[in-house]
């Protein structure tokens, strides 16, 4: 059994050995170090490219909506603005994506000559089938969200959280996370989101984004564990 002191001496011995033998090969060692550094940098850059540029594209599959929808055109047709189609029910719940009932009054028959309208009328309206819209902002099952709290109480506008879909002339491509099945809008589309430099609230809507705004706006620290909002504020 060796004592701690013995160990120390052994280590010192090795060091002097290496110093003594390495005098004339000093230059090659330095060159080798340069190569290692170079390979490290190349490898690091390559994994950054893979991780930030290639992997996100592999991670998400692109899905089309059943047909395109033009918000700008419809805002000129309806009487009641956004609320003609996205409205609150009497019990405070939010209707969300419109049902066929909000469309049939105008779309009993094909009015124009766009292919989108033809698909809509022939495949859905005449067969009385609801349109299987993909919802960009859809959160996981365990999340509770309240439009009433944000729109009625906090007086926030739709653009803050949804961006400019309401004024757009066509729907964006829906991207689905292949692993979780969640929409990419939650994780965010841009490189900035990975680097945690998001510019608009709507760019990303993960748990920390919700919680950060809540802490700032409401100042509630009612959770014993996290000193933020209690989990049951946003979960169910």
């Amino acid at each position: 059994m060796s004592t701690a002191d013995d160990n120390e001496r052994e280590v010192h011995g090795q060091e002097t050995d290496a110093d003594g033998g390495g005098h004339d090969s000093g230059t090659t060692v330095r060159e080798g170090g340069g190569f290692v550094l170079l390979f490290f940098i190349i490898g690091f850059a390559a994994s950054l490219v893979v991780g930030w540029l290639i992997f996100p594209n592999l991670l998400y599959s692109q899905k089309k909506q059943p047909f395109d929808f033009n918000h700008a055109l419809h805002m000129g047709e309806v009487d009641n603005g956004c609320e003609s189609c996205h409205f609150f029910r009497e019990d405070g719940t939010y209707s969300g994506v419109p049902k066929l009932a909000q469309c049939v009054a105008c779309h009993e028959d094909v009015q124009g000559d766009t292919q989108d309208e033809t698909i809509f009328v022939e495949k859905y309206v005449s067969k009385k089938r609801e349109v299987p819209w993909r919802v960009y902002s859809r959160q996981p099952d365990c999340v509770f969200f309240s439009h009433a709290a944000h729109v009625k109480m906090a007086k926030m506008d739709c653009v803050t959280c949804h961006g400019h879909i309401g004024e757009s002339t066509s729907l964006p491509v829906y991207e689905e996370n292949r692993l979780t099945g969640y929409s990419r809008d939650i994780e965010g589309h841009h490189l900035e989101n990975l680097l945690c430099l998001k510019k608009n609230t709507a760019d990303r809507m993960k748990m920390d984004d919700c919680a950060e705004c809540h802490l700032e706006k409401t100042g509630r620290k009612t959770s014993v564990q996290t000193e933020k909002d209690g989990c049951f504020v946003c979960h169910k």
Partner: protein, 264 residues
């Protein structure tokens, strides 16, 4: 700008055991309301899940002095002796269970839970249950599940939430009218409403206008294992002394004690 803080609430129950007939309607209502999974064979009570469970107590006396009492047991939503120090919250290594000072409700986030089951060991009331399997619903029943309560998966712990989703719904309704005021009726648990005998009363224990406020001060009120200091939010009422004694640990010959109450 910080919004004005709401007065914190302390939701709780008072269950009148003299009214309870043991019919089990509360258990059924709870299962249906909260998407609680069940199996074809539920005879093994060690692996079945019942957020609300009715226990049968007897006074152990021979006929004709035999008496029976049924005791419904939801999660007791312990506050502990200092705020939020409930047995399960303090042991959870995953932050999956939490105490909310605004409502006094102990929450359980299933997606966060990794199934270590410390909380089940810590809970003195057996109110927590483990999902040994993924739920298997009889054909067609997935379509009948409530979208307001997220379903659970294999390997996580679940328990009674005081039907918290109904509080969320009540708040939504109030927010729509641009107020925060929620009436006593707007938030009631499924078991409370299902009880045909009206044995369960639910409300804010700190609100003088709620029925539970008065009832919990009844001289016949007691809480389960009160002397442990769990400071639960479920009170029971019974005029029978043996029932009140059955609610706690008593040494042979020890008389009924008046436990110290933390909140009045």
């Amino acid at each position: 700008m910080k919004q004005e803080q709401e007065k914190p609430k302390k939701f709780g129950m008072v269950i009148d055991l003299d009214k309870c007939t043991g019919c089990g309607a509360c258990m059924v209502a709870c299962m249906a309301e909260n998407n609680v999974p069940f199996k074809e064979n539920e005879t093994n009570k060690l692996d079945s899940i019942t957020w609300m469970r009715v226990y049968k107590l007897t006074n152990n006396k021979p006929f004709p002095m035999t008496e029976v009492c049924y005791l419904p047991r939801p999660c007791q939503h312990c506050e502990g002796l200092h705020t939020g120090h409930s047995p399960c919250v303090s042991v959870c290594p995953a932050t999956a269970t939490d105490y909310d000072m605004e409502t006094g409700i102990v929450s359980q986030i299933y997606t966060r839970c990794f199934g270590c089951r410390y909380c089940m060991g810590a809970c003195p009331y057996h109110a927590r249950y483990f999902n040994w399997w993924d739920p298997v619903w009889p054909e067609g029943m997935e379509k009948m599940l409530s979208p307001n309560v997220s379903p659970r998966m294999r390997g996580v712990v679940e328990k009674c939430s005081f039907c918290f989703h109904r509080y969320q719904a009540a708040k939504d309704k109030a927010f729509y009218k641009e107020t925060r005021a929620i009436a006593e009726d707007d938030y009631q648990t499924a078991c409370t409403q299902a009880c045909p005998a009206g044995a369960i009363t639910f409300g804010d224990l700190d609100n003088k206008d709620h029925a539970v406020y008065k009832k919990k001060q009844d001289p016949n009120a007691f809480r389960l294992l009160e002397r442990l200091g769990t400071n639960t939010k479920v009170y029971y009422l019974s005029r029978k002394e043996w029932v009140r004694k059955a609610g706690d640990n008593y040494l042979p010959g020890e008389g009924l004690q008046k436990p110290r109450r933390i909140h009045e």
